[in-house]
């Protein structure tokens, strides 16, 4: 077990592509860190550099305080779980899990004991003598985990280890990965695309974009206090709503009407020297059906009317979608997000607003309704730099 430090780490591929640039991450001993970001942002590259599968172009990687840049993967004492599982097809489950131990010239009795132990933890005892080709996806995934844990490495690296499983199995495996990591207390770096995994698994989340670190912090902190538009839009599903807005003497004119700023927001915006044109971000759960909000709260927030276009009733909550006139916010961060979500070029996505309402709401599809949103929860962003103007670290 050991802490992992990436000190100004940069990766430039042979073809000149800058995949990771000047990344600083300090991962404490036993910590579970998640790397998220859109496709091609350098997550795998970062992981492969820690593993030693890719050379580091610049900066330093330290594991347990020792510089690792020049060490071969086998000398770093790190285990990796691959998205494809990368099980050796010609070996049985037992041989697969024993492989790292055999290479380390561990004696037979110890190999047998460790493999049996790992198999017991991962519930693989019944399958030890089968070949990977004859296992289900979930079983293969567990074998891959088993191969990683048998030799008690200093750290685990996992590159989207659950993304080949179906949703239900992924949920189950997510909890077992979490439990396993807590049980073993091994430093873990985990790459994922999945919002739920990012929010639930890690102690801290690192958001990457185009090879640059956008923000590092606990999942809830990133959700509540995104440093910029990109993080705000990337963390959370459904994503935060972004609307263009104009700041005018203490009030904000938006496509949802003119809104009085609360003290917190005004002070933060003043401190950040906000420009006149800004982007307003509101999370879906900060909206509510106005008829369900008590009078005191109605005063605190802002209300407006809109025509519900789509209503998704989830049982415990309802998602209402509507679009607003002339409401598309423009910023390079948002274009990136749209590209990642695959919605670039789809008309109307920018002006579409998603709201999460209580199940008790009586709004109906195709009908006009009165909505309310909590103006104190509003976040303002600078369209030019993407920076969160209302950011505070507490």
């Amino acid at each position: 077990m050991a802490e992992i430090v990436l000190d100004k780490v940069t990766k430039r591929y042979a073809d000149g592509a800058l995949a990771v640039s000047d990344v600083n991450i300090e991962i404490a001993d036993g910590e579970f860190v998640i790397l998220v970001g859109p496709s091609g942002c350098g997550k795998s590259t970062t992981l492969n550099m820690i593993a030693g599968l890719e050379d580091i172009t610049g900066g330093e990687l330290r594991i347990g305080g020792v510089r690792m840049n020049e060490k071969a993967p086998k000398d770093r004492d790190i285990a990796m779980v691959f998205q494809s599982y990368a099980l050796y097809p010609h070996m049985t489950v037992r041989e697969n899990m024993a492989f790292p131990l055999r290479l380390a010239k561990v004696d037979n009795a110890t190999v047998t004991r460790k493999v049996e132990e790992a198999a017991a933890i991962l519930d693989l005892k019944a399958h030890l003598d089968r070949k990977p080709a004859n296992l289900s996806g979930g079983q293969r995934q567990r074998v891959a985990m088993g191969r990683a844990i048998v030799r008690s490495p200093k750290a685990f690296l996992m590159d989207e280890p659950l993304s080949n499983l179906d949703a239900k199995l992924r949920g189950q495996m997510r909890t077992s990965v979490s439990r396993l990591q807590k049980q073993l207390g091994t430093t873990t770096v985990y790459v994922t695309h999945d919002q739920t995994e990012a929010m639930t698994l890690g102690d801290r989340v690192v958001v990457l974009r185009g090879g640059l670190v956008q923000q590092i912090g606990a999942p809830q902190f990133l959700y509540d206090h995104p440093a910029n538009l990109f993080v705000a839009g990337f963390i959370g599903a459904p994503a935060m709503n972004f609307l263009p807005a104009t700041l005018e003497n203490g009030s904000l004119s938006t496509p949802l009407g003119t809104v009085a700023l609360t003290d917190r927001v005004r002070r933060a915006a003043e401190a950040a020297d906000a420009p006149r044109e800004v982007i307003m971000g509101v999370r879906p759960e900060h909206f509510e059906d106005a008829s369900l909000v008590d009078a005191a709260a109605l005063d605190r927030g802002a209300s407006f009317d809109a025509q519900v276009e789509v209503l998704e009733s989830m049982g415990a909550e309802k998602f209402a979608y509507f679009s607003v006139e002339g409401g598309e916010a423009h910023a390079s961060d948002l274009a990136d997000l749209a590209a990642d979500a695959g919605s670039a070029g789809v008309p109307d996505t920018g002006s579409q607003v998603v709201t999460r309402l209580s199940a008790a709401s009586a709004v109906a599809e195709g009908q006009p309704a009165k909505f309310w949103f909590d103006t104190d929860k509003v976040q303002l962003f600078d369209p030019a730099s993407g920076a969160n103007l209302t950011y505070s670290a507490d």
Partner: protein
Amino acid sequence: MSQTTEAARPATTHRAKPVLSEGKRAERRLGLLLCAPAAIVMLAVTGWPIIYSVWLSLQRYDLRFPDKQEFVGLANYGTVLSNGYWWTAFGTTALITVVSVAIELVLGMALALIMHRTLVGRGLVRTVSLIPYGIVTVVAAFSWKFAWTPDTGYLAKLVGPDTAVLTEKLPALSAIILAEVWKTTPFMALLLMAGLALVPDDLLKAASMDGAGPWQRFTKVMLPVMKPAILVALLFRTLDAFRIFDNIFILTGGSQGTGSVSMQTYDNLIRGLNLGIGSTMSVLIFIAVAIVAFVFIKVFGTAAPGSDPGRR
């Protein structure tokens, strides 16, 4: 021949009858009709000569004594199999096959790895390495022969002024094997490269993470995973090498005990005009090749590339 096709067809339809619907059966009939012309041509050009040579091998049939032609059963086989020259040729052929295929495997694997790894000018490297395979064997054999000709050949000069490589048994065999290896290693490399492409990158990365060095990755992961491709390559090359003819014909003409079984067959069949004995020999070669193929497929479990990967 027409009997075989007609006999085969009712058998298939009969077996399929209980499970196939009318539409399926019509489809199958159409399928058979569509491939019938090709099958008939195949039978005519490959099946017929085989059957005919089996027929010839059962007769005493020497074109120098045409009146003495008669059916002799397996007598020709007795004659050939009890003949010392045949067994010498057989031993020579087996030696050339084993040694040349072994060398080709090693060199071919090295070449395949190089071609697989090359990032710049990959196309050029592949094309260049395939040149020997693209040259007609006889042409290449002649250039080897000139190279080994005492006094004038560059290779002959290299080994020394007074040695005539092609006139002694072992050096001549080595020269033959060298020519074979030079010519067919690219083919081996190409087959092996197809096998290399079957080894996922992730698997090698995983092996590195598990603590394997380059050599261990090669022997413990790469070789076992590409075993099917290696076996197919070995099978193809073994069958081919066993029938070696052109190189020997040009380089030594089969003298100094360098003749292969194919050379012997040629000597008897074409030069000696003994159709009976010559056919017997070609049938024996056919049987030997069939046994090699059988051993590869049944004992080592060789499969055609891409077929049924989950079995192993």
